[in-house]
Structures are given as structure tokens and as C-alpha cells.
């Protein structure tokens, strides 16, 4: 995949416990960790190695247990079951303040009675850094998060949502821990600032070599920044791997649907051929591989691999339909093509020209190797 491959591949496509090929000890290791609140299981039997220096992002639906997982890692919550080790030492019971980790809260948890400056200086004060040094460092951090130095003396409760988020970020960096946890730190920022701070975070990650564990709801953020992405669902870790692996080889339909838009077609095996069940009459599909033993499966085709065809022979699988919606996504355009009951999504770069035939009947399709077959 070109020059970037080495970059994104750095962390490899990991799966829990699969890090044996890497010599370094995981900085944090979870083995069979669960967390129950009364009879509700928020985190369910998770095993995961967090590697020294990696940028690990956790994504998952709301309520899937991401925050709870992070809180256990930070020492703010104790696992109901399982073990957490830090470089080989069991730390289930180590208090948050003794862990070389730091959490940027989803709620930010800024100290309302302190100025921006004193908020940022708080961890330094806890370490006993001198006042002058603290202030110098705080001003430096303010610059880093793109806040004016004059904010040093500002009442933190008069800052806007985004400003507050940046203060929280600066405060975490002031603590300077080995492992940083972020709970949606950029969610309230505008696009441009988010891009800037994403880059800043990424650079800081590279420069410092620290381990970052990151929760986000922004797929783009996860894709751009992470060495590995972990996908959670209902307290379980469903898949962990490099962004490419997660995007390109999702383990199941949930992951596929979660990390971007997809066209999914349910198929059944019939006389050695895959038949689509979702068209009026079964259509035979050309697929990249067969699934051993499975009778049913799902075919996933990302919208960018769907093509408008000039002729029926231009792709392995062909569908005919009618464009009924077109959205601009900024750099891309998304088409919704209705074929019978189904709607297919096709995404094209804004710079590409659609080889379609106006508003009439169009042919769309995809090649066998661009589809992914996953568990139904």
C-alpha cells in the first residue's frame, strides 16, 4: 500500500495475547478483567496487552464500557475480576496516584475554583515543582494547546467548551505520565482545531515515546492517529488490530459496520455457490473465498469499492439501479443507489467523474477481491 504502509503497520495487526512475537514487555496487561455494577456487567472478561509506546484507540458504541475500562486502567475503579499488571507487576490495588498513568476525563473534571493556570499546574504542585518552574511549564503547555497566555489567570468556568477541553489536555500533559488515557478529549473541538490537536497529540506521542490509550467516537481520528484500534461491544473487546486490519479485514459484521459505512449482503451457500437472499430472486455472487463449513455469511463491500459501470462486464458482480440521492461529504460525494428494495452506497472522490447516465438506470458493481466475507 505504498509509503505509508510502514507507518501504519508499525504496531502490526494485534489480537489480545498475540504480542509474543514482540520482545518488549507490555506496559499494561489485562487478563480476564471484568467490572460489574450491581448485576450489570460493564466490562466483560477482557484480555489485552497494551504495548510500551503504542497509540491504542478504543472505539465502540455508547455504553459499551470504554470509559469503565479506562477508569480501571487508571486505578479509579477496581476490577471485579481478573488482573491488571503494569510491566509485570500486579496493580489491581495500586491507587491512581501511584500509577504512572493519567486520565483526561470525559467530563474534563477541571477544578472550578482555580484559574486555568492553577489547573494546569496542579499535577506539578503535587510533585513539588517550584512555583516559577510551574508557571513557565504552564505557559508552555498553554501554547501547546493553542490557548493565549493571558488565559493563565482566567477563571476556568468562564471558558468555552472547547477551551476547557484544551485546559484539561494541558493539565494531563503537565503530569507527564508514562501512559496517558484520553476519554474523548477532542469531541467538543471544531474541525480545524481538532485536526491541529490530533497532529499535536500524534507528534507528542512520537516525540515522547509514551503510551497513549485513547477513546474516540470519530472514526477518522481513530484511523489517523492509532497504531492499533480496539473495538468494544457490550463490555467485550471484539477485535483489536491495526487501523487497516480493522477497516479492511473486519472480523464480523458489527466491526465492519462500526468502522465506516458499508454495503452488507446476506448470503447463503447453495450447491457450492453464494446466493444473495436480498434480491427478488436469488442472485449468484462471485466472492473472494468460501468460508469453511459455513452455510450463511455476510458480504461486506465498502462504498469506495463500489463502482459505476459503463458496461455489465466491467466488474465481477453487477447490479442495476437508480441514483436517488447524492451527498457531498466534503472531499467525497456519496451516492445512494436504489436497486429494488435495497439501497447501495457508492462513494467517489469529488475529483472523480461519475460515468453514469444521468438520472436514468445505472449499472453498479464490484470486483470479487474488493468484497469481504464475514460471519453473518
Amino acid at each position: 500500500m505504498g509509503a505509508g504502509q510502514s507507518e501504519t503497520a508499525r504496531a502490526g495487526g494485534g489480537r489480545p495475547g498475540e504480542g509474543a512475537d514482540r520482545p518488549a514487555l507490555p506496559v499494561l496487561q489485562l487478563v480476564g478483567v471484568s467490572k460489574r455494577f450491581d448485576d450489570f456487567t460493564a466490562v466483560d472478561d477482557i484480555s489485552l496487552d497494551i504495548r510500551e509506546g503504542e497509540f491504542l484507540t478504543i472505539v465502540g458504541p455508547s455504553g459499551s464500557g470504554k470509559t469503565t475500562l479506562l477508569r480501571m486502567l487508571a486505578g479509579l475503579e477496581q476490577p471485579s475480576e481478573g488482573n491488571i499488571t503494569l510491566r509485570g507487576t500486579l496493580i489491581n490495588d495500586l491507587p491512581a496516584r501511584r500509577r504512572p498513568t493519567c486520565l483526561v476525563f470525559q467530563s474534563l473534571a477541571l477544578f472550578p475554583h482555580m484559574t486555568v493556570g492553577r489547573n494546569i499546574e496542579f499535577p506539578l504542585k503535587a510533585k513539588g515543582v517550584s512555583a516559577a518552574e510551574r508557571k513557565a511549564r504552564a505557559l508552555e503547555l498553554l501554547r501547546m494547546v493553542r490557548l493565549p497566555e493571558a488565559y493563565y489567570g482566567k477563571n476556568v468556568m468562564t471558558c468555552s467548551g472547547g477551551e476547557r477541553q484544551r485546559v484539561a489536555l494541558a493539565r494531563a500533559f503537565a503530569y507527564d505520565p508514562d501512559v496517558l488515557f484520553f476519554d474523548e478529549p477532542l469531541s467538543a473541538l471544531d474541525y480545524k482545531l481538532k485536526k491541529l490537536l490530533e497532529k499535536e497529540l500524534k507528534d507528542l506521542h512520537k516525540e515522547t515515546g509514551k503510551t497513549f490509550v485513547y477513546i474516540t467516537h470519530s472514526l477518522e481520528e481513530a484511523m489517523v492517529m492509532s497504531d492499533r484500534i480496539g473495538v468494544m461491544r457490550a463490555g467485550k473487546l471484539v477485535q483489536v488490530g491495526s487501523p487497516d486490519a480493522i477497516y479492511g479485514q473486519p472480523q464480523n459484521r458489527f466491526v465492519a459496520e462500526f468502522v465506516g459505512e458499508v454495503n452488507v449482503i446476506g448470503v447463503t451457500l447453495s450447491n457450492g455457490a453464494w446466493l444473495s437472499q436480498e434480491t427478488a430472486e436469488p442472485v449468484r455472487l462471485v466472492l473472494p473465498q468460501t468460508m469453511a463449513g459455513a452455510e450463511r455469511a455476510a458480504v461486506v463491500i465498502r462504498p469506495e469499492y463500489m463502482k459505476f459501470l459503463a458496461a455489465p462486464g466491467d466488474a465481477d458482480n453487477v447490479v442495476s439501479g437508480r441514483v436517488y440521492n447524492e451527498y457531498s461529504l466534503g472531499s467525497r460525494i456519496q451516492y445512494q443507489v436504489r436497486a429494488g428494495e435495497r439501497v447501495f452506497l457508492i462513494e467517489m472522490s469529488r475529483s472523480q467523474i461519475r460515468p453514469g447516465t444521468g438520472d436514468g438506470e445505472v449499472l453498479i458493481g464490484w470486483n470479487a477481491e474488493d468484497a469481504i466475507v464475514v460471519e453473518a
Binding site: A74, G75, L76, P95, A96, R97, T101, C102, L103, F105, S107, A109, F111, P112, H113, M114, F122, P123, K125, A126, K127, N155, M157, R171, Y175
Partner: protein
């Protein structure tokens, strides 16, 4: 200031301030919401407090031992009080000193309990706080007398100790037991505001501070204390004021080993039949307590501490 001017001047100012009243959902009547909410109380206080207050001040400047309020004007009552031969300053000193000690002791005694009510006792907490409320239904005189029965010769303590061949300590009728009685009486007035204050410290802030490596002391000093300060402060002020005006403890437990200022004021109005002197003492007491309290309140601005979230 007369009650009439109080009423109008604040109304005028409030009208001017109207433009800045933006954030209220109740803003669309003629007065700003704040002034509207304050007006019943202000009216009541003008009638129920300001007027009697003026009467007392009037008495303070009336001829000693007369009832000629507003008919005579003299500074003699104050002159007598400040005369070095008059030992009434000792009563002031005792009252204020014991009140300060009471506040200090209650801060220490109540903090762990308030902390427990907010963070430790969990579902037991309402039961525990109710336990601290019940005794308040008995008049303080009776409760204080209960301590006399506990500590006195052949009382409960002595009687119990006699069972093992010991005898009770001689603690009654001293300044120390007076202080003890004050601490006992005013405990709830510190405990409940303090608990309310502590309960307003958000848990995630403490978690965050802990996560940043702050030790217990630092969390306490930098987060918990400042954020709980309004409650603590109000508790401290309340107990200070109540204690400075206290008299029953010195009478019932202390055997009047010290004379409290309220006792002197009471005497002036009873045995002495010298109302102007009593009024003058009252005015002085109010100035001293009010001044001290205002100084504290001014230095610790409630609005700022709380960030008005």
C-alpha cells in the same frame, strides 16, 4: 438607614441593573428576578428587625436606668462600659474566646463526621444524620442538665466508676466544662452546613486530583476544602454567633465560673433594671460579632469560591 430608604434605593438600583439580568428564565416582569425574590424577605426584615434594632439603639443612647427612649441622648452608657473600673470587658473576652474555641473544636470534631456522611457511610448516612438530629428536640437546658447528672458526685459517671472502686473526676463548675457544653450544644449547627458543603464537592474532581498524584493532604487542601468552604464557613459563622451569645452552658454546667456577655445583658434588663446599659452592651456585642463575621465573609467571597456554576 431607615427601612423606607432601604426599600426604594435597592429598587432603583435593581431597575438599573435590569439589562444585565439576562440569564434568568423569570426575567420578564418589571423587577429583576433577584430583587423580586429578595423583596418579601427584605420587607419582613425591615419590619421585624430594623425597627426593633432602632429601638435598641435608641435605648443605648438613653439616660441610664431610664425608659426614656428617643427622648434623651447621652453617651453615658458607653462611657460606663469603657470605664476601666467596669469589668464587663471580661465577659466580652470570655464569650468571644469560648466562642472561638468552640468553633475551632467543632471544625475538628465535625469534619470527619461530615466527611463520613458524604463519602463513607453510604446508605447509612441518612440514618446517622438523623441520629444527630433527635436530641435537638429536647431543650438545650435539659440536655445540659443531663451532663450535670452525668458528671456530678454520685452521678452516672461517679456511680459507674464507684462500681470498680474509682470516683468520678471533678470537672463541673469550671470554664472548661462550659466550653464542653458549648461544643456539645452547637455541634449540629456546624455538622449540617459542613455536610452540605462537602456534599457539593464533585467526586470526579477528587478522582482527577488523585490521578494527578496528589496525596490526601493536597486533595484535601486544594480541592475538598476550598469547594466545601461555603458550607464550612456558614457552619463556623453560625456556631460562632450562637456561641458568642450563649449563656445556658455557663449557668448550668459552669456554675457561673465565668460570666458570659449575654448574662450581663440579661442582668441589666432584669435585676439591674438598667435597660439603656443592656441595650448599649447589646449594640457593642453586635458590632463586635457582626464586624468579625463580616470580615471573614468579605475575605472569603461565597460567589467566587463557588465559581457560580
Amino acid at each position: 438607614m431607615s427601612d423606607a430608604t432601604l426599600g426604594t434605593s435597592s429598587t432603583v438600583r435593581e431597575k438599573q441593573g435590569k439589562e444585565r439580568q439576562g440569564r434568568s428564565a423569570l426575567r420578564h416582569l418589571s423587577l429583576p428576578a433577584g430583587a423580586r425574590c429578595a423583596s418579601p424577605i427584605l420587607l419582613f426584615m425591615a419590619l421585624g428587625f430594623l425597627a426593633p434594632l432602632l429601638t435598641v439603639i435608641g435605648f443605648a443612647f438613653a439616660e441610664p436606668r431610664s425608659f426614656a427612649v428617643f427622648e434623651s441622648f447621652t453617651l453615658r452608657n458607653f462611657a460606663e462600659i469603657f470605664n476601666p473600673a467596669d469589668t464587663v470587658w471580661m465577659s466580652f473576652a470570655w464569650s468571644l474566646a469560648l466562642a472561638l474555641l468552640t468553633v475551632a473544636a467543632l471544625l475538628l470534631i465535625c469534619y470527619p463526621i461530615a466527611y463520613g456522611l458524604v463519602r463513607v457511610f453510604g446508605r447509612w448516612s441518612s440514618l446517622v444524620s438523623i441520629a444527630f438530629v433527635f436530641p435537638l428536640f429536647i431543650s438545650e437546658n435539659v440536655r445540659l442538665y443531663g451532663w450535670t447528672l452525668f458528671f456530678i458526685n454520685h452521678g452516672v459517671l461517679d456511680g459507674l466508676l464507684a462500681g470498680i472502686g474509682l470516683s468520678g473526676p471533678n470537672v463541673l463548675f469550671t470554664p472548661e466544662i462550659t466550653l464542653f457544653g458549648m461544643i456539645y450544644t452547637y455541634l449540629p449547627f456546624m455538622l449540617f452546613p459542613m455536610t452540605l458543603g462537602l456534599s457539593m464537592v464533585p467526586g470526579d474532581l477528587i478522582e482527577a486530583a488523585r490521578d494527578f498524584g496528589a496525596g490526601r493532604l493536597m486533595i484535601w487542601r486544594e480541592i475538598e476544602l476550598p469547594l466545601a468552604m461555603p458550607g464550612i464557613l456558614i457552619g463556623a459563622l453560625l456556631t460562632f454567633v450562637l456561641a458568642a451569645g450563649a449563656v445556658a452552658e455557663a449557668k448550668i454546667l459552669g456554675g457561673q465560673s465565668v460570666i458570659m456577655i449575654s448574662h450581663d445583658i440579661e442582668n441589666a434588663f432584669t435585676y439591674s433594671q438598667n435597660w439603656p446599659r443592656g441595650a448599649a452592651l447589646a449594640v457593642l456585642l453586635m458590632i463586635v460579632i457582626g464586624g468579625l463575621s463580616m470580615a471573614v465573609m468579605a475575605r472569603l467571597d461565597l460567589d467566587r469560591i463557588l465559581g457560580r456554576r
